[in-house]
Symmetry: C2
Subunit: 208 residues, 2 copies
Amino acid sequence: MKAITVLLADDHLVVRTGLMALLGTQTDIAVVAEVGSGEEALAAVEAFRPDVVMMDLAMGAGMDGIEAIKAVRSKVPGQPVLVFTTYDSDADIVRAVDAGAMGYLLKDAAPEEIFAAIRGAVKGTSHMSPPVASRLFEHFRNPGAVLTPREAELLALLTQGLSNRELGRRLFISEATVKTHLAHIYAKLGVQARAEAIATALRREGMR
Amino acid sequence: MKAITVLLADDHLVVRTGLMALLGTQTDIAVVAEVGSGEEALAAVEAFRPDVVMMDLAMGAGMDGIEAIKAVRSKVPGQPVLVFTTYDSDADIVRAVDAGAMGYLLKDAAPEEIFAAIRGAVKGTSHMSPPVASRLFEHFRNPGAVLTPREAELLALLTQGLSNRELGRRLFISEATVKTHLAHIYAKLGVQARAEAIATALRREGMR
DNA sequence: CCCTGCCTCAGCCTTTTGGCTGATACGACC
DNA sequence: GGTCGTATCAGCCAAAAGGCTGAGGCAGGG
């Protein structure tokens, strides 16, 4: 039986080393390359054509994990990519899934879970860590909470602490429009005021 | 020469595995135990009396890294503890240092840096990753920005998105007093408004 | 004992924010 | 060709937040 080939992309050497050691215990899984950035991952996918890519989402400077997933899958359509990260923020999960990730593992996952996800990925089975799955479920249970692109843009600036006037200047819209968007955002987030919206956005969505 | 004994405390199995693998390449460093929580770390320190403890700050549920450092050092005075974490928020660094940490390493540190920090720790030399050191320096360069206990308490609630009225109710003080504290907080943080204060606090201090 | 820092509070006035109602415009979809 | 979602804007009013000045109590240090 030919071993499943895996590419590791994570900016932390310690994590890559740990994964290599863990995956090394499995005879049917072989790490063929390890890289520390999204750009390198893209190149390595072309060079090695691994069966599965394990990708961290936070990768220091440059291309982030989500962009890397999109780039990889546009270059190699159908390439199975597993997200392997510390966080399980709503936004990250949703963005990863619609960037085409086959699975979403948390770094505190048990080794068996990791192995199972890799084996599943080559067969086209997707795997989510339980907390991730439940968040994703929540997300689709309440699709009313999906912000429009413009609203999301505004929220991002809002979390910088800008005033309505500033928001208007930055987005080239009137203060009246800013207020309209804000009202919609508050309703969707289920909050009463600006402060709460910022708190919610920063906590829930891992926006920083 | 007797090898330096090390205890690893980190809730991520992958990270522990990676560190074991990296440290295993050094003949003068021996990992004597690895644990996944602050409570276990405390027990392991007593049982193994390691030369150095490497401690993560974020450790899921239960005792966090800072508490664990304090507990370890109160049980074994002078025990060298190295913080090994992903983040370098101001608050974490300062709290770790005054909990008695001997050094502060980031997870993306080069292996040589990690080895050096461990070797230094047993000799009583403290080591900081460069970005950490510069933040610590900044912190002491501008001590005016130190919030009073009451202000910190208020800021914590502020980041929950509460209104002035709510803040007053929670802290059993009048809205007038809340405004006074807020004015001081804004001045110390160097911000103009509530929204900015929340953003700054959440981003800079890793309060969540 | 005085000074300083911290916590507490009041009043006054301006600016900002939020709630509401209503309106126009454009593109997609049926 | 109508409908829906999105984005844009206005005006009005009430509530909240912020700037300013002033002030009392209390603990700790010189």
